[in-house]
């Protein structure tokens, strides 16, 4: 029991993000309305982004912008301790992931507009009926 608690305390953020992802995933699969599916998609991707960003975190470290004198004229004052700054890589990756998810969302949005223009509905079951009609 205690070790389970320890486990949860040690990894709670991962677990929260996973739960968030699953909410989004469920919406993507189970919802009937295309827009709701899109919202689910966004939740899913955002949860992944949070998951990644949380990887970068280090206890007792600050954001990865080097403080102090960086006039950049050759020498740099004071040596840098890696432990002082959190890991920049996940942030970089997630900038990309954010852009990708936004782009996907935009395309999906445009498609929804087209579909609505054609069928006057975004409910999947109604769409299925429309398709089976002709």
């Amino acid at each position: 029991m205690t070790e389970l608690l320890a486990l949860i305390v040690a990894k709670y953020n991962f677990w929260l993000y996973i739960i968030l992802m699953m909410i989004g995933l469920y919406a993507m699969i189970a919802k009937n309305n295309l827009m709701k599916k899109l919202v689910g998609m966004n939740i899913f991707q955002t949860a992944i982004i949070l998951f990644y960003v949380s990887i970068g975190y280090k206890h007792g470290a600050t954001l990865p912008i080097i403080q102090g004198d960086h006039g950049g004229h050759g020498t740099h004052g004071g040596v840098i301790h890696a432990a002082e700054y959190i890991n920049p890589l996940p942030h970089v990756l997630m900038l990309t992931a954010i852009v990708v998810s936004v782009a996907t969302f935009g395309v999906a949005m445009a498609l929804c507009v087209r579909v609505y223009r054609r069928y006057q509905t975004l409910e999947e079951d109604e769409l299925r009926i429309r398709l089976s009609e002709k």
């Binding site: 993507m28 998609m41 990756l93 579909v115």
Partner: protein, 494 residues
């Protein structure tokens, strides 16, 4: 310094933006820019292949940073082959598209060519890169472009198909991304080679590595439409404009198979996949199910295009099953089938494109008397079909040969049986079609003139030439199968 690997990817990329700009000067310019760009990247690909065969693996450090800090392009025999394949098919399809796109997307053809080149960039990048996250970005480029271009097809249905594809595709890509995340947490690196090295020291029992592996593979399977996850593919490819279906059908799934092989061989290592995990038998069964399901679903189609899409699903089963047989022969067969299946599918869809160009609809009832009307197209179609069925000396026979040998060696007789059954079913499928095409409408069947009835209404030469080239390539890939395996595939697997 050898810049070929970079040029390979950059040519279509910059080509895309230039043709986007040129469209504002003269719309037709963008097509020729696209042609030049894909041609250039094809040349570069061939040069890279030459280098790889001469001097082994080629590396290109982007921005001059050494991996793992920077991103590197890493090209070994396997992806050299895939790169040449991609750029060649992209170029030929562009040639064939010159006429068909103007007919299908009249008012925004230039933007189509821009999208097309970005799609090609995505595929090339996926095959060239040596970085796990870069792979994800490029997969997303490929997916985004294909969502869009699929939605340019038949009004309404194509949009729904594309939306469906987006939802499933996003899930796939996100799974892959999550898998990479787990890998990054456990190894702290993103470069394939580096990750592979670090994974050596991590105990195989690690649940994180297992999860990473399962997630990556699942994501790739969704993108490649392995049977239970294939639901998006048939509609997406059937309603897409032919100009795009011709290139996405042969390339997209094959590139994903390449990614799977790359993950299995380079990143996680066959040792881990087959000896530490015990999934191989299950996956081979999945392959068997995919083969049979694809074949039999194809049997119930009444539209040539739909039928072909289900055949793609069936062929995916070949490659997944072969790759997971767990012996060199099976893996070699799977890799060889990446090449062969791309060629066959491309030829099939080129022929399909020509038929669509002439007859608009390709429901079976519209195909009567095609042999008389379009002999050249049908010749290509027949050859490709024979290759799918697996008749020597076409290339399909030889990949099937290696796969069945691998199945025998692994004792997976159910897989061998599935292969044989699927070729029988494909034979039935295609000869059903050929029969319809051979016998014209019964009314005019007894014309007593030389040529067996019907007047020639053949597709334009610009669409026939690529078909001819690909048909010859099918036979060439067949008779030189042994050479390809010995010079490209086995060196990679050693």
């Amino acid at each position: 310094m050898n810049h070929m690997p970079a040029i390979l990817v950059l040519a279509p990329l910059s080509g895309a933006f230039f043709s986007g700009l040129a469209a504002w000067i003269k719309p037709w310019l963008s097509f020729y820019i696209a042609l030049a760009a894909t041609c250039l990247s094809g040349v570069a690909a061939i040069c890279v292949l030459g280098d790889v065969m001469a001097a082994g693996t080629v590396q290109y450090r982007m921005a001059g940073w050494a991996p793992p800090m920077g991103i590197e392009l890493r090209i070994d025999p396997l992806n050299a082959m895939v790169l040449v394949l991609i750029s060649a098919i992209a170029f030929l399809n562009l040639v064939a598209s010159a006429r068909s796109v103007d007919r299908e997307i009249p008012d925004r053809a230039p933007s189509f060519y821009v999208m097309y080149q970005l799609f090609v960039v995505g595929l090339l990048g996926v095959s060239a890169t040596g970085d796990l996250f870069n792979l994800y970005v490029l997969i997303e480029i490929t997916s985004l472009t294909s969502y869009t271009m699929i939605a340019l097809g038949e009004e309404g249905r194509s949009h729904l198909a594309a939306l469906n594809y987006i939802f499933i595709g996003v899930i796939g890509a996100s799974f892959y991304l999550l898998g990479v995340g787990y890998l990054y947490i456990t190894t702290g690196s993103l470069n394939m080679q580096d990750v592979a090295v670090i994974l050596q020291q991590i105990p195989g029992s690690s649940s994180a590595v297992l999860t990473a592996f399962v997630l990556c593979i699942l994501g790739v399977w969704i993108k490649m439409a392995l049977f239970p996850l294939h639901v998006w593919l048939p509609n997406a490819y059937a309603f897409a404009p032919v100009g795009f279906a011709r290139v996405v059908a042969p390339l997209m799934t094959k590139v994903m198979v390449y990614v799977m092989v790359r993950l299995m061989v380079t990143v996680f290592g066959l040792e881990y996949v087959f000896n530490t995990l015990h999934l191989a038998d299950i996956v081979v069964w999945l392959g068997v199910i995919a083969i049979l399901a694809g074949a039999f679903m194809a049997l119930f189609q009444t539209d040539l295009r739909k039928m072909l899409t289900y055949i793609i699903v069936c062929e995916i089963g070949y490659m997944v099953g072969g790759a997971w047989l767990g012996n060199t022969l099976g893996m070699a067969g799977a890799i060889l089938h990446i090449l062969n299946d791309a060629l066959m599918t491309f030829a099939l869809f080129l022929a399909l494109g020509n038929i669509v160009y002439v007859r608009k609809q390709v429901a079976f009832s519209n195909l009567q008397g095609l042999f008389a009307a379009m002999p050249w197209t049908m010749a290509g179609l027949v050859l490709a079909a024979l290759s799918i069925i697996g008749v020597p000396p076409t290339c399909g026979f030889f990949s099937k040969w290696y796969l069945v040998l691998g199945a025998f060696e692994a004792g997976a007789y159910h897989f061998a049986a599935a292969l044989i059954i699927s070729s029988l079913v494909c034979a039935v499928l295609f000869f059903k079609v050929f029969e319809i095409c051979f016998f014209g409408p019964m009314a005019t069947s007894h014309g007593h003139h030389d040529h067996g009835g019907g007047v020639m209404t053949e597709a334009p030469v610009s669409m026939l030439v690529p078909l001819g080239l690909v048909s010859t390539a099918i036979v060439a890939a067949g008779v030189y199968a042994g050479t390809i395996v010995n010079t490209l595939i086995l060196p990679f697997l050693q």
